[in-house]
């Protein structure tokens, strides 16, 4: 059993990290009253922008394995953040400035974002005229996958706690910071007010538009990092179309599962990551079909949580009250 856990937990964690980025980003977004269903698209864009940045940088070098470590990390990171930020700005421009329907805008962003990811993922080589068979950014990936040097010497402890790239720890730190920001700072208080009751926040002199923009863009950038982590760390720098799959939607499910608490999402993401790959660990013998049923688990669990939280109906456990609604001061 212990051996099983030691091999299982690290795999659950690496599955959970993209979900943690996605859910933390979406929680921050939703606290401002924006229900961004474009998060799956944003995560694709974050991933592909990192890939593009890294691809162009690696190609500019004669020997990618000799690349400058700082640049090798920073270029994909900044490209990823920039791409995600643009998606956030687009969403805000449409839903906040132009007051468009959030559901429709979000779905359009997902269509667009997944399209951008798969298009550039599939056509990057042709577009740039490169003479490589496929996108495999192993040099960049190695940088992202750098572990603590002594982690391997610490046995099970090292394997469970220290066997991850820096983005995994960053995800946890960001989630804790987001949690602290929401609950213990002036900005957090005002952000929550914007999502709960924008008219009240407005009357209190809070700039609703700015808060919604800031929270949503920050949320998108955090979520975009999830895409970057997936490609650079989890997938070893290999982009394959649609490989990121439906993790973006699972991240949105996690927001509900954790009742809008980023700190809770740390554990919950790992749990979901575990459920996501549980089928690999359950002996099914020759019956491959049953594995497909196990893959259903995270979704079923989310549905159960969704139902239970609606049954319990506690005031503090409800979504931000104005979630999904546009705000217009002179509406009457």
């Amino acid at each position: 059993m212990f051996d099983f856990l030691v091999s299982f937990i690290p795999r659950a964690v690496v599955q959970g990290v993209p979900l943690l980025y996605g859910s933390t980003g979406e929680i921050v977004t939703e606290k401002s009253g924006n229900l961004n269903l474009g998060i799956p698209g944003v995560m694709y864009v974050g991933g592909i922008c990192g890939v593009i940045g890294s691809f162009l940088y690696e190609r500019s070098l004669s020997d990618p394995s000799q690349m400058n470590a700082a640049l090798g990390i920073l270029i994909p990171l900044l490209s990823c953040l920039a791409g995600s930020l643009l998606m956030g700005l687009l969403y805000c421009f449409l839903t906040v400035t132009l007051r468009a329907n959030q559901n429709v805008t979000g779905l359009a962003m997902t269509t667009f974002g997944v399209g951008v990811g798969n298009f550039f993922g599939g056509s990057l080589i042709k577009l740039t005229g490169a003479d490589v068979p496929s996108i495999a950014l192993s040099a960049t990936s190695n940088l992202y996958r750098t572990r603590l040097p002594f982690a391997g010497d610490l046995g099970w402890f090292g394997q469970v706690f220290l066997s991850y790239g820096f983005l995994a720890y960053a995800a946890i730190i960001i989630a804790i910071l987001a949690s602290y920001m929401l609950n213990h700072t002036r900005i957090g208080l005002q952000l929550r007010a914007v999502g709960e009751d924008p008219a009240t926040a407005d009357a209190a002199g809070i700039n609703i538009t700015r808060y919604k923009f800031m929270a949503t863009c920050a949320g998108c950038m955090i979520a975009g990092l999830g895409g970057l982590y997936y490609v650079m760390d989890y997938a070893n720098g290999v982009w394959s179309n649609d490989a990121f799959g439906d993790r973006g939607w699972l991240a949105i499910a996690l927001v509900i599962f954790t009742i809008w608490r980023p700190n809770v999402s740390i554990g919950a993401s790992i749990l979901f990551g575990g459920l996501y790959i549980l089928y690999l660990f359950i002996p099914t013998g020759k019956d491959l079909a049953v594995k497909e049923l196990y893959k259903m688990l995270p979704y079923v669990v989310t549905i159960v949580v969704l139902v239970f939280s609606s049954l319990r109906n506690k005031r503090e456990n409800q979504p931000p009250e104005s979630l999904g609604l546009p705000y217009f001061r002179e509406e009457r």
Binding site: T111, K126, W249, A253, E292, M296, I303, L306
Partner: protein, 359 residues
């Protein structure tokens, strides 16, 4: 200083002109994006898109068929949307309907006569789709469970369920595919009308559009849906059983999605895969919304989106690009249209106060 105020009332012609204008702008933007990424001249791009959509008789029919299927999904979703129930589960409801049809074809293919088999498939699909939508509707009605996320999750449950049966039924074993079902006997295949295998689906869509338009605008149930959507309290006040209307409407919505699953399996694909629905459940949300939930206008909006996607597909094929290019163009057009609504509802006023403020 800029201030935004609600417009008094915009004449319909004016509003339509803005909408058409913005679609034109969106197409220009798409051309620019295409030129930037592929280096083609915009004229060539549009020429390619038009020929991709209407170039041959067969392409035109395929476009019509795809439009018809997308339109059917949108028609299926629209009663739920009019009730302000965000059914994002069209994808799963289509898939589960398709699954029911395929199950009938595989298990009953040899034992039932042709028409009876098709009838059984149809009923099974309607039933399966209806049940799949009823589950979230039940929880929404009873405990106000968030339907957007519930229906979304149901999509993936459906996908995995289908994935399971695809492996159970795979032909040959180990291929991971079902292959064409009943290829030799063509049992459970929809007949071709007038030697045209696309015509039947198009006719179904036409009939469904008319039926849905009448149902929503002239039916008692359609009226109930509108009242529940606009004001659940008013509905209760006049004795409408809100919970029952929610569940009934979603059964209709899901059953029609199931019908689309049946059309896909029986009418065109003749097989079952997890990607059979092809994102139509989501695209249809946007089709319906773009048309302001009006079934007649939805004909136009579904045609537009299918044209873009087939046109972009043609560009991708000819220039050896990835097919996801179509999604990018569709996204751009959607962003333009989504943004336009603002300028129809509101107007922007530039006040002269701005200058004084700096004094």
């Amino acid at each position: 200083m800029i201030h935004i105020v609600k417009r008094k009332e915009m004449p319909l012609t004016h509003a339509l002109a803005i909408r058409f204008g913005i679609i034109g702008l969106a197409l220009i933007a798409c051309g620019i994006v295409t030129t930037l990424t592929t280096g083609l001249s915009p004229i060539d791009v549009y020429g390619t898109m038009v020929s991709g959509a209407f170039g041959t008789m067969r392409k035109t029919w395929i476009l019509l068929q795809e439009t018809a299927i997308l339109l059917c999904v949108s028609l299926a979703l629209v009663p739920a949307f009019r009730m302000k129930f965000w059914n994002l589960g069209g994808e799963g409801q289509i898939l589960i309907g398709a699954f029911a049809s395929a199950a009938c074809m595989i298990t009953l293919g040899g034992s039932l006569p042709g028409p009876a088999l098709i009838l059984a498939m149809l009923l099974a699909s309607l039933f399966a789709g209806g049940v799949w939508a009823l589950i979230p509707a039940f929880f929404k009605a009873r405990w106000n469970t968030n339907e957007t996320l519930f229906t979304l999750m149901m999509n993936y449950v459906a996908t995995q369920l289908v994935a399971y049966f695809v492996i159970v039924w795979e032909v040959p074993k180990g291929s991971g595919n079902i292959g064409i079902i009943n290829q030799s006997s063509e049992a459970g295949w929809l007949p071709t009308l007038m030697h045209n295998k696309y015509l039947l689906i198009v006719l179904v869509a036409v009939a469904l559009t008319a039926a849905m338009y009448v149902y929503l605008n002239y039916g008692k149930q359609g009226y109930e849906i509108a009242v529940v959507g606009e004001s659940p309290n008013t509905a209760r006040y006049v004795g409408i059983k809100v919970n029952r209307v929610i569940m009934r409407t979603l059964v209709i919505s899901g059953a029609l999605c199931g019908l689309v699953g049946f059309l896909l399996v029986s009418g065109s694909a003749h097989t079952l895969t997890t990607s059979l629905a092809g994102g139509r459940g989501f695209t249809a949300v946007m089709v319906a919304w773009l048309a302001k939930f009006n079934p007649i206008i939805m004909v136009g909006s579904s045609m537009l989106l299918e044209f873009m996607s087939s046109g972009a597909g043609e560009i991708s094929t000819i220039y050896g690009l990835n097919h996801s290019f179509g999604d990018i163009l569709t996204g751009i057009i959607l962003f333009f249209i989504i943004g336009t609504e603002f300028f129809i509802t509101y107007k922007v006023v530039f006040s002269k106060k701005g200058a004084e403020r700096d004094v």
